[in-house]
Amino acid sequence: MVKKIRSLAELEKLRSEIIARRDPKRKIITVCASTGCSALGARKVIESLKEEVKKRGLCGQVGIKEDEVEIKETGCLGFCELGPRVIVYPGEVPYFRVKPEDVSKIVSETVVKGKIVEHLRYADPVTGEKAWKLGDIPFYKHQLRLLLKNNALINPKKIEDYIALGGYKALGKVLFQMAPEQVMREIKKSNLRGRGGGGFPTGRKWETTRNAPGEPKYVIVNCDEGDPGAFMDRSLMEGNPHSVLEGLIIGSYAIGANEGFVYVREEYPLAVENITTAIKQAEDYGLLGGNIMDSGFNFGIKVHRGAGAFVSGESSALMAAIEGKVGEPRPKYIHTAVKGLWERPSCLNNVETWANVPLIILNGADWFRDIGTKNSSGTKIFSLVGKVNNTGLVEVPMGITLRDLIFKIGGGIRDGKKFKAVQTGGPSGGFIPEKYLDLLIDFDELTKVGSMMGSGGVIVMDEDTCIVDVTRYYIDFLSKESCGKCVPCREGLRQILSILNRICSGLSEEEDFKNLEDLSELLKEASLCALGTTAANPVVTSLTHFRGEYEAHIREKRCPAKACRALVAHYIQPEKCQACMACSRSCPVDAITGDKDTVHVIDQEKCIKCGACYEECQFNAIEKISPPTPPPPRYGIKVTRKKKRE
């Protein structure tokens, strides 16, 4: 049992004690143990590291001084596709895709001698440039990791790690040196806006809840994170849960709430585990619960696990779920900040929003406003995915351009292909075409071009992506993930999906332009909640910026990206075929005929357009043709041998 902290001075004393227990020369091997790296085998790497370090006698003694080498199991480090991730300190030497067999070299060279293991050293996939330190890697060089940086330095299951880095200092400052109104003013002045999607000014929301009549008041963390492919909130909850808690406690003090909820989707078991542990440890130290730090302020938190549905992240749906009701939105012409959980004033903020609060309190509102743009201060975490060379979680200052995000941090488009569009804001965000690549990333700028910040999904698409087809994918997702309560959203999405299906199958008519436009307007104007009012964004932006692609599908029955199966035929070009037979062997329905030295031919009647042959042919002899009208088949042609002439 630890001793409860009963003043600011005691907190500082504890901090110095923790730091004093640690040998400053101590080496740290950071291994990401979050969901992403675990799926890639991080556990085995951790076990091997422990064994290796023990074998060399570098740890094992439990005394006043901690071990000479510490293996720190941390949260997400960001460059997730290259996991399992390891960083060795001092030196910040990064290793990627670490396998258990790499471990002994990493320990003997880097940990013991401070040298880099050459054959494991990071090389840029495009330029081939090698890097020594984490900060030298282009993916990291252009980021500003204020919220995520501590993920590499903290074992999320140890509150002491957080305290050692200045944790709960902001809480102490607030409780003993600031009145609630002052805290509110500071957050308002900082211009912090909600990271959960809407970008609503956080300070104003807090004030609304504070001033709303009714007791008790509640504060809530939204960790539903229903966007497919997004995991910024998970990474904070798994990697640095105390930063979220500290923000929440500060908020509760400013708002005058004594009860809080953390809503986490059930699909995030590690986030649930880490936040639950964090709550327990904070309570043990007296940083949470009754009479926090002997200041007289009381605040308790409950964790609520929700069945993760996309729509459950909407504020009124989320609150209904916490109340034990079906998690579907209700009309909220009176804001949840005024009448929320059990009809009481309730302030709901996103995980990342809460995590910003301690930083603002410690560094000041002016510091925060100096980062970013006039209307969007601070940093934003994005999950950068799709057809870029480097994917993963990135944190950048607001106001960085889309171009820098995609080309400097993301390393440009994969396989030297051409950029086509970037979709921001999750499934109901919009597509942004090349001409807006120099747009500054900021809440208002993204909205101006028909997209949105959303919670921070960034999906990059290349020339092989059919915009109509991806639009259909998002509409399909939304039509299944909406709650289905109101007519415009449920029936509107059902019909939009059916129209898009027709377009992709070549069965559409000219009227479908107007049908799509009318339905989009209906969704935007008349839906009950923000899922419905934003759901048409992919349709509207693709119709605006990529209308030609719709025209090709509708008028010419042609898919320019050659992605819509029904509109594509596979055809073997006689002058290129070398009769290697790879294609006929790969075809699952035996649609390809041909003999030795004879050009192969695809029977279009039999072909199911799976593309197996296209992938298999080494001579690029197979071509995709759209509209699907290949030249008539000619059997028995002899192959033209190209190689021999050389």
Binding site: P331, K480, C483, G484, V487, R490, L493, R494, A526, S527
Partner: protein, 212 residues
């Protein structure tokens, strides 16, 4: 004491009581707004959106569902302008495909409204589930009868109503009170179905448990 409020609906000055919705305030003064999921006995639900009206507040125009939007001091409401009618026509065009193919003998409230708004035929694909998910049956059973014998299952376009197998056999055949609230013939059609649905009981009851 309940405070009085004055607002303007379709150009007329109207007095209302605090706590009233736009729909109630309009109705009290004989101004008609079409509704489908509204029922005086039930809590307003705001799902069909047919009662959409345009409001002007602080100089900004916006469409809202009048059955849930609170009447407020100084509010200006237009219940039947061009924009509102366009939205209603579209909603009706989305509802018609849910009904079984039109017959000359039966016309329910949806067909009547469609005719009134000049919607002869819908442009959209038929999906004749015969249920518009207005929730009259479900809400009546929960709020008035307190029997919870019928509920929603599924979400998004898969949402549907289902009898609760453990409860429906004991309640529904004898009660049938929700049947007359149904704007389609779904309820009447499902009388025989109740037993049928109940015999498929297990998967549905599992789903329901998952929801609560």
């Amino acid at each position: 004491m309940v405070r009085g409020i004055s607002l303007k609906i379709d150009g007329k000055e109207i007095k209302a009581r605090e706590g009233m919705t736009i729909l109630q305030a309009a109705k009290a003064k004989g101004i008609e707004i079409p509704t489908l999921c509204y029922d005086e006995q039930l809590k307003p639900y705001g799902a069909c959106r047919l009662c959409t009206v345009e409001i002007v507040k602080g100089g900004r125009r916006r469409l809202v569902a009048s059955c849930v939007y609170p009447a407020g001091e100084g509010l200006e409401v237009e219940t039947n302008n061009k924009k509102v009618r366009k939205i209603r026509r579209l909603i009706l065009e989305l509802l018609l495909p849910l009904l079984p193919p039109p017959s000359d003998t039966v016309t329910g409230p949806i067909e009547t409204l469609a005719e009134k708004y000049g919607v002869k035929k819908s442009r959209f694909k038929a999906e004749p589930t015969n249920c518009i998910l207005c929730g009259h049956c479900v809400r009546y059973c929960i709020e008035v009868k307190k029997a919870n014998a019928i509920c929603f299952i599924g979400r998004g376009t898969e949402r549907q109503i289902a009898f609760v197998p453990e409860l429906a056999p004991n309640h529904c055949l004898a009660c049938r009170e929700c049947f007359s609230l149904c704007p389609t013939s779904k309820m009447v059609d499902s009388v025989e179905g109740i037993w049928g649905v109940c015999s498929l009981s297990i998967p549905i009851s599992e789903k329901i448990k998952g929801k609560h």
